[in-house]
């Protein structure tokens, strides 16, 4: 008797055999009890698999994902703001440093300058020095200090928020 493999039986239930092959198996099924058993068992497995129920996600799943998406959308904006603050802070710091250097250099140069063109440069430098001195003197220095403190506080806030988020992400 011709042996029908499990592979052919699988193809039989999937409808992947030709009419001739199907007829051949149908003929064998009339006499071959073992084949009938195997096919019957395979059909039952197929029926059970077709009847598997889809598992449902826990309640509120969609909301959770959408919240994570909107949170993720917010983060780049906050990061952008954070970096803007940091860059502004360092720009101000650099500006102050350059101003300080200009004051020192101009002070030294002004003593040695005597010619016309040099005098003009010296005058410009002097005016620059005066404006910088005005900015960093009296009430202005307090305003500058306040702005610097605010920038530092905001940067600190965003820095801690970001590190908190990273920690949460890592722990999850």
């Amino acid at each position: 008797m011709k042996h029908i493999s499990d592979e052919i039986l699988n193809k039989y239930i999937d409808g992947e055999l030709s009419t001739k092959e199907i007829n051949n198996i149908n003929e064998l099924l009339l006499t071959d009890i073992d084949l009938k058993k195997r096919l019957s068992a395979l059909k039952r497995v197929d029926t059970e698999l077709k009847g598997i129920q889809v598992d449902e996600v826990p309640v509120g799943f969609t909301l959770k994902v959408m919240q994570r998406i909107s949170k993720k959308n917010r983060v780049p904006k906050e990061q952008k703001l954070f970096f803007t603050y940091i860059i502004s802070f360092f720009s101000l710091l650099c500006l102050s440093f350059v101003g300080y250097l200009v004051i020192n250099i101009a002070g030294e140069v002004s003593e040695t300058i005597s010619s016309g063109a040099e005098k003009t440069v010296s005058n410009y430098s002097q005016s620059l020095i005066h404006s910088l001195i005005n900015i960093f003197s009296g009430l202005n220095i307090s305003i500058f200090g306040s702005i610097l403190s605010i920038v530092l506080l905001v940067s600190g806030y965003f820095f801690f928020e970001m590190s908190k988020q990273s920690k949460t992400k890592l722990s999850s």
């Binding site: 499990d6 592979e7 699988n10 009938k36 058993k37 195997r38 019957s40 068992a41 395979l42 039952r44 497995v45 197929d46 059970e48 698999l49 077709k50 009847g51 598997i52 889809v54 598992d55 449902e56 996600v57 826990p58 799943f61 969609t62 959770k64 994902v65 959408m66 994570r68 998406i69 909107s70 993720k72 959308n73 999850s172």
Partner: protein, 188 residues
């Protein structure tokens, strides 16, 4: 919303209506969850991984070329993320050939008189959940998502014939349980 195609929703999300993404989530969450649950064998892990998958899909939506169906593209993300999770658990991950060569054996010994038709059904469902990850993935995509072997091969990045080998092997192992335990008498 039911009649709107996946492509229309994706276009809307790309235009900035991110809330529309929830329609896609509702459309695929349960089937993808079933796949992950069978692969990871853990409900909590499956939920967590599924959330990550939807986030990945959302973030990569601009790169989705619409050359394939959204479902195929999304299941690729789901399947690969599940494999990554399994590998992070230091489980053995098989590539295409080893998954096909993977010889697993479902075991069950029973008393012949113990089962009625309903109990055979319960037993089979229990055994299905014990299938190895790749086999569970194929079975889930084939039966729950009604995906073709071609689509499954695209998701799993293996050949169509290997998908069929996995499918037949899974069915045969379940069939052998029925025959070995003489449960066939109940069926005939």
């Amino acid at each position: 919303m039911r009649n709107i195609s996946d492509f229309d929703i994706i276009e809307s999300v790309k235009r900035g209506n991110s809330a529309d993404f929830s329609v896609l989530i509702d459309r695929y969450k349960n089937k993808a969850f079933s796949l992950l649950k069978r692969m990871l064998k853990n409900e909590l892990d499956a939920e967590e991984v599924l959330q990550d998958c939807f986030l990945k899909a959302y973030n990569s939506l601009k790169g989705f070329k619409q050359e394939s169906k959204f479902s195929t593209w999304f299941y690729k993300i789901v399947y690969n993320t599940a494999l990554t999770r399994l590998s992070s658990r230091k489980r053995k991950i098989e590539n295409e050939m080893s998954s096909v060569d993977d010889h697993f054996e479902l075991e069950y010994k029973s008393n012949l008189n113990e089962f009625d038709n309903q109990e055979i059904s319960t037993l089979l469902k229990k055994l299905i959940s014990q299938l190895p990850e790749n086999h569970a993935a194929v079975m889930s995509m084939f039966y729950l998502d009604e995906m073709s072997c071609e689509e499954i091969s695209e998701v799993m990045n293996i050949s169509v014939s290997n998908v069929k080998v996995i499918l037949y092997r899974s069915r045969n192992s379940l069939k052998n349980i029925i025959i070995d335990n003489n449960l066939i008498e109940e069926l005939l």
